[in-house]
Structures are given as structure tokens and as C-alpha cells.
Symmetry: C2
Subunit: 444 residues, 2 copies
């Protein structure tokens, strides 16, 4: 068994599950269900909250539901989740019929961090109480998740769960792009799209650990001021949707050594044309296939159809490289968990050296996931969007405004500050958690 | 001016050139011409022997001719050639109508080493007497060549001209393939075609400077014994023309991390299919377009037509890379002479560390160039084929056997030994050359 299931925990067979425990958010329980819940209170909870995708049409299909606590199979660990990372891939899952998507309903999420609560048979490298981050194949956005140990990584001493989800996916992708695929060396130049996003920020930061590297970053004009204020890792900020290739050529007439493209579609051709000789174009995402609010099969087809196929003979004549990186496929289809583990270890070591400083855009309650996803969809985040199952949802307005725009949203900072207040309270009421943190520090 | 010309040296305008000085090999001079030659003896020679391509059909178009000594333009140096390197590219030039080939007749050759005899205006980094290797755009196979200084590299102390032509092109290509493009790191595996050739041997040798690298080499069965006896840089020797992909998968079921392909054609598709995830396929030659004795436009078309075009989306889905390396284009079309210079310097440093040990197959007189090219064409060489303008041609049989096969050829070793004998004699008669060698050692 390598997957957690939605059946009740095997350790407690005496408990009959509710009819798959589906409760929608905001949780408005019927009187009957409320009674059922009360009856359970005397016993340890066998249910958990989770972010569930109930269908492939629109944001309304993302719901918070009660789900049975997952069982822990052989080779798995059960993690009590403290923080979940949002990645662009989550939007793609929600919207597009790509290969091998699970049938709805299922729990969303590819990244979470927390504490190990139970260890399955055959797992020797983890113990209860370990602080870890995990990259499971779905199911990460819940209070508890059962994950094969091969996708679980121990946190170095001093790294919080929030740090961990802001670091792991983004910096592992950035690390593999720059140092495994593009072979970034001193004096080179690179262009990265979605420069304000989690991976974009990680790329710019890691690129600047190499001497004399020039970074061109493309993102919405609205982010430019904030990015300039935040750091100076990006040498040339260019505007998404503008004729940025001309802007690049004004600075560097011969183009750039490396193009990192997470957009796909016509950006592939544009990126390739921007390459210097001996340059590399790397496609590591296809966010251009996410365009509207609904399942966008046609935008996926268009994005892929726009991409010119290239003959190796052309690369030979032009001295260029093309590459692709897909972390999910690497882990779940190509069986390269060990390879990814080495990259995670390298990234954590860079964090230890102070070279990785993750940027968190904002932290959200599970119940506010739709708003967080919408923010990513509209590319308004700067840095990582994080879900925290312990956070209280934002108070909803008396008459909910269900417009398309996110204009009525509160500034992201408030959400994070809310979380900080809460953390302080939690520390007061949960001394046993701090104990286990100390244990971890001793062992590591 | 960046090119030497076939007009007589500007320094000696009083001399009228012969009618382009064409004398075929073996040089059987007419009585008139012999008289002409005698008249010149009193003055410094204004002509030189060169390997000239006189047409694009068959081996008979390669001739030894007398040509005027080239002029030295601004930014150029005139080199007295001691050794010329044969590269597969020379065969492609001879046979195939690829882009931007010069009109015949022209002097062949892309690689030579020797001593600087004259320095053009504006050249500050070389002086008369410097021992150098050069990668000119044609014209390298002659007694003298004028080369833009940007394509000329000073030899490190102790490196002979023979070493230099055995090292420069082959190891620079191997270095760029392994360390710039394929990013070879410990534990990886690679497959290289034409494993017995100059680049193949350089690749295997440089690959083994990295820990725990597994090298698969494909070449003619006839070379296997000699290669095994010569070194053990190739872990698994596979037979050209066999189902080598199955053989690779017996050893490494998941394939290899790196495929280096100098063949093109259907080997492109086969090479790509052999890649592990995160693997790289690099095309660095197209020797499959050289098939017969005559200009083979159709085999070029076939070789390129057989190559599947690949979408970057496929690379993204499969976590793979495609790349091309073309040293000539890098130097002469893409203006990356500085980039190549850094690679040359790195390779010479590796030679200084004893990590580069060039393998010379055999050394030939200019007059025996056709036989040398035929040996490369038939892929019978192990290591580098070198021309030495100071060598006497081999004695020709009384009745020359003009068969297709090279069976009546002498073993290559004899030719090299001949050269060694000659070197000893030359040392006796040319003390000034040894003096300048000593000078070079002092200055470097």
C-alpha cells in the first residue's frame, strides 16, 4: 500500500464511519449530524477536515469536508499537518483534464509539513514526533495525511513547518532547474517567468548565489514595486504581456543563456528565440493552460498546440538545448524519489547556510482556500501561499459578495498576522508539542 | 581581413605566381616546372604545399597542390604548420552540400599546430616563434596558414604540435559535451557513439575523471580488442550495427543519463528512447550523412528526415533534455570564440594535471591524406589521425591497386614510426627549430 485511503483508521475498527463524513463549508451541520458529533466527543476524533475537490468545474467544487482519518499502510507515516503549500499545479488539477487525475471527490494538495503521529510497518527512518515535510500525491491539504515515507523529509533543526512548505517544492524545483538542468555558472544570464511567484522568487535567490549572474524577471506590472522593495535579486523586471523580448535585447542584444518557462504556449517559441548560442530553454510548467474560472480543456490544447516541435538537428545547427522538468512526474511516475531526496537535502543545506530565505505571501485557514487559490490564479501573490489547518477562517461578510474579482479581499499580511497571534496562543496550550520539537533538535 | 587568400604574399610582389601553382600528387613535375622551381631556389619560397579540395565528387577531388603563401591580414598570424588534425567534419565538407561551403578549389582542414612565423597588425597576444594550435575556418592543411588570432591558442609548456592537434578539437568537444551541456556528475551513466574515434576516446577519458561514472561505448566490433588493450575507460563496449539498446538495458534497465550522438539519423530517436528521466541526449555530429564515396546529398536528407521533432511539452512530461553542439558554428557563425577559448584553456589545464592523454592513431604525409581520410571514412582509426607536412609520402606500389577496400594499406603504426625516424633526422638538420622550442619553454 502506498496510498492513504478514505476508509476509517484500521486501528479503531470498533468505530463506524459516517457516510464518508462529507460536510460542506462553511460547516452548517443539520441537527442530526450535530448530535452525532456530540456522541463522538468522548472518544478520540476519527474525522478530520480536508480540502476536497468535488468536481472539475469551477472554484465552487473546492470544499471543506469532514473525512475519515486516513489509515497508515506499510511504508507510510501519518502526519499531523501544521502547514500546507499551494502550488500552481493545484490550480491545474482543479481545472484541467490532464492525464491520470483521480476521480472526484478527493483531497487536494501536494505539499504539507507537520509532525509524525504514527509510523507504519517497515518505516525505519522516522519516528513519532519527528518534524517533517512531505510531497504526497494529493491529500496534503488536510489535518492529517498518510504519506509513503519515500516522499517525506525530516526538517533540519530550527526549520518551522511554515518555512518547510515555503521552501521544499519551490526551491527544489529552482535548484533542479538551475544546477541540474541549466548548469548555471558565473557570468550567465537568465530569464524567469512568474518572477513574483514562489518558484520565481526561489530561482532569483538561488541564481544570485552564483557570481555575476544577471536575472531578468517577467511578471505583472502591479508587482514590480513590491518586488523591488523586497529584494534586489532580479536585475531587470519586465512586464508580463509586454514585448519583453525587445526589452531583454535592449540590455543584452544576443539574448540570454537560460530561459525558465512555467507558462508554455507561445512563450515556448518566444523563449527559445531569446536564447544565446549554448543557451538552454527549460519548460517547467504550463500555467498558460489555466486561463478562466472553469475547466479549460481548450486552453490546454491551445497552449500545447502553439508550441513548435524542434528537431535535434536544429539544436545541433544552432548550439542550443531544450529541456523539461516536472517534479510530480519525477516523483510519482518516474520513480526518482531518491533523486528528489538528494535535491531536498541540498536545498535544506543551503537554507542552513543562509542562502535560502523563503518568502511567504500569506497564510490562510483551510476554509479560505478558495480565496487563496483565486489569489494565485490572478497571479497576485508574491512568494508562497500557505494553508494552516489551525487557523480560524476569516469572518465572512454578512452578505457575501460573490463577484469574480478578489478586490474585497483583505491584504495578505493580515492573514499572516492572525496566524502569528494564534501560534502564540497555541504555544501556551500545547506544551507537549514544544517538547517534541526539543526532542527533534536533540536528535538532529 | 579575416581570411588568408590564394594570392601571392604581399611582402614579395615582384614574384609572379605560377598559374595558381596547381601540381597534382604524387608530384610529378613537368621539365618546365622543374626549371621554374630551380629559379626560385635562390629566393625565399613563396609557395607551399597544401591539401586542396578541387570539387565535391569523390576522393579524387582531394589533391596536393602548390599554393601561394598566404598573406597575413590585420589581426592574423602566419603559422608554419607542424601537424594537422583530421576531423570527421573534413569528410562531411568533402562529400556533402551543407550550408555555406566555399567554392572549390580551396584548402581543406580545421585544425593545425606549429610555430608563429609572422604576426599581423593589431595582434598583441602572440609573437614570432610562439608554439600554437589553431582552429581556422578551412586552410589548416598546408605548410603555412594565416589565421585570425581569436582562433589561435598558445601551447602550454611541454605540449608538442602532435599532442596539440590530438587534443584541441577532440577534447574541447568532449569537455563541452560532458561539463557544459550534459552536466556530468558522479554516479551517472553515458553512452557514446564512435567510441574508438578521437572524440569518443576523449569523452571516455574525461568522463572517467568523475567518480563512479559508467561509460557505454558503441563502435565497430573490429576495434573492441584494441580498445580493451589500450585502456579501460569504456565499461561496456557495444557493437555498431547491433541491437545495442537491448544490450544497454540488460546492464541498466532504466537506460542511461547521457547519450552523446555524433551519428544523427535514426540514432537520434534510438538515443532519446534510451534516456533515463532527467537524462540528456546531445547531438554533436551527423556522420551518418557520410555513407559512400561520392557526394551524398540523399543520405544527408535521409539522416535528417529520420530524426523525430520533439515538442518541449514532451520533454516537460518526460523530464528529459535535448541539446546540440557544433564547434564550427560556435566559432565561425555564432561568434563565441571567447567561450571556446575558455574551454581550450580548461582542457590544457587538465592536460597539465595529467588527466588528458591524447591517443594518436597514426601520422601521415600530406600526400597520403586520401588514405588517411579513407581510414576515417571506414572508421578504422582508434584515436586521432594526424597529417605532418614534414613527412615523406609512403612509397607507392609500382602498379597501384585502386580497389574500393583499404586492405592493401600498410598498418598505421608504420606511418607513425616513419615519422619518428624523420623527427630525429630533422632535429639534426634544424637546430633553429629546437632553439625556438626552448624559447617557448622559457616564456611560458
Amino acid at each position: 500500500m502506498t496510498e492513504s485511503t478514505d476508509t476509517p483508521a484500521a486501528a479503531a475498527p470498533e468505530k463506524t464511519p459516517t457516510e464518508n463524513g462529507t460536510t460542506e463549508t462553511p460547516p452548517e451541520e443539520t441537527p442530526d449530524k450535530a448530535t452525532e458529533e456530540k456522541e463522538k466527543e468522548a472518544e478520540p476524533p476519527k474525522e478530520m477536515r480536508a480540502v476536497v475537490l468535488t468536481g472539475y468545474v469551477g472554484l465552487k467544487t473546492v470544499k471543506i469536508q469532514k473525512k475519515p482519518v486516513p489509515t497508515v499502510g506499510e511504508g507510510e507515516v501519518l502526519i499531523r499537518v501544521k502547514a500546507c503549500g499551494l502550488n500552481f499545479q493545484d490550480l491545474i488539477v482543479r481545472q484541467v483534464a490532464i492525464d491520470s487525475l483521480p476521480k472526484t471527490p478527493f483531497i487536494l494538495g501536494f505539499e504539507c509539513a507537520g509532525e509524525i503521529e504514527q509510523v507504519g510497518e517497515g518505516v525505519t527512518n522516522f519516528k513519532v514526533g519527528d518534524q517533517v515535510v512531505a510531497l504526497p500525491e494529493y491529500k496534503a491539504w488536510a489535518e492529517l495525511v498518510s504519506v509513503p515515507a519515500q516522499y517525506v523529509y525530516a526538517l533540519p533543526s530550527g526549520m518551522t513547518a511554515l518555512d518547510a512548505v515555503a521552501i521544499t517544492t519551490n526551491y527544489v524545483v529552482a535548484y533542479l532547474l538551475l544546477f541540474e538542468i541549466a548548469n548555471l555558472t558565473p557570468g550567465k544570464s537568465l530569464l524567469v517567468h512568474s518572477a513574483g511567484g514562489g518558484v520565481g522568487q526561489a530561482v532569483a535567490q538561488l541564481a544570485k548565489t552564483v557570481d555575476n549572474v544577471t536575472v531578468f524577471g517577467v511578471c505583472s506590472k502591479s508587482k514590480h514595486e513590491a518586488l523591488k522593495a523586497n529584494n534586489n535579486n532580479i536585475d531587470h523586471l519586465l512586464e508580463r504581456g509586454s514585448d519583453y523580448t525587445s526589452e531583454v535585447r535592449k540590455v543584452s542584444p544576443e539574448g540570454v543563456d537560460i530561459v525558465l518557462d512555467c507558462l508554455c504556449g507561445e512563450e515556448c517559441n518566444r523563449g527559445y528565440s531569446l536564447l544565446k548560442t549554448m543557451g538552454r530553454y527549460v519548460l517547467y510548467g504550463s500555467s498558460n493552460i489555466v486561463t478562466g474560472d472553469t475547466r479549460s480543456f481548450f486552453s490546454a490544447v491551445r497552449a500545447w498546440w502553439q508550441v513548435d516541435k524542434v528537431s535535434p538537428v536544429k539544436l545541433f545547427v544552432e548550439n542550443k538545448s531544450l529541456a523539461g522538468l516536472n517534479l510530480r512526474h519525477l516523483l510519482f511516475q518516474h520513480g526518482r524519489a531518491d533523486y528528489v531526496r538528494r535535491a531536498v537535502e541540498r536545498v535544506f543545506a543551503l537554507w542552513g547556510e543562509g542562502k535560502v530565505k523563503p518568502l511567504v505571501d500569506s497564510t490562510w485557514a483551510l476554509e479560505d482556500v478558495v480565496e487563496a487559490m483565486q489569489k494565485m490564479h490572478e497571479r497576485k501573490n508574491i512568494g508562497k501561499l500557505v494553508l494552516d489547518p489551525s487557523l480560524e477562517p476569516k469572518p465572512k461578510p454578512a452578505t457575501p459578495a460573490k463577484g469574480k474579482s478578489g478586490k474585497e479581499k483583505k491584504p495578505a499580511k493580515e492573514s499572516s498576522e492572525e496566524k502569528k497571534d494564534k501560534e502564540t496562543k497555541e504555544e501556551e496550550k500545547k506544551p507537549e508539542e514544544n517538547e517534541s520539537k526539543d526532542k527533534e533538535k536533540e536528535s538532529s
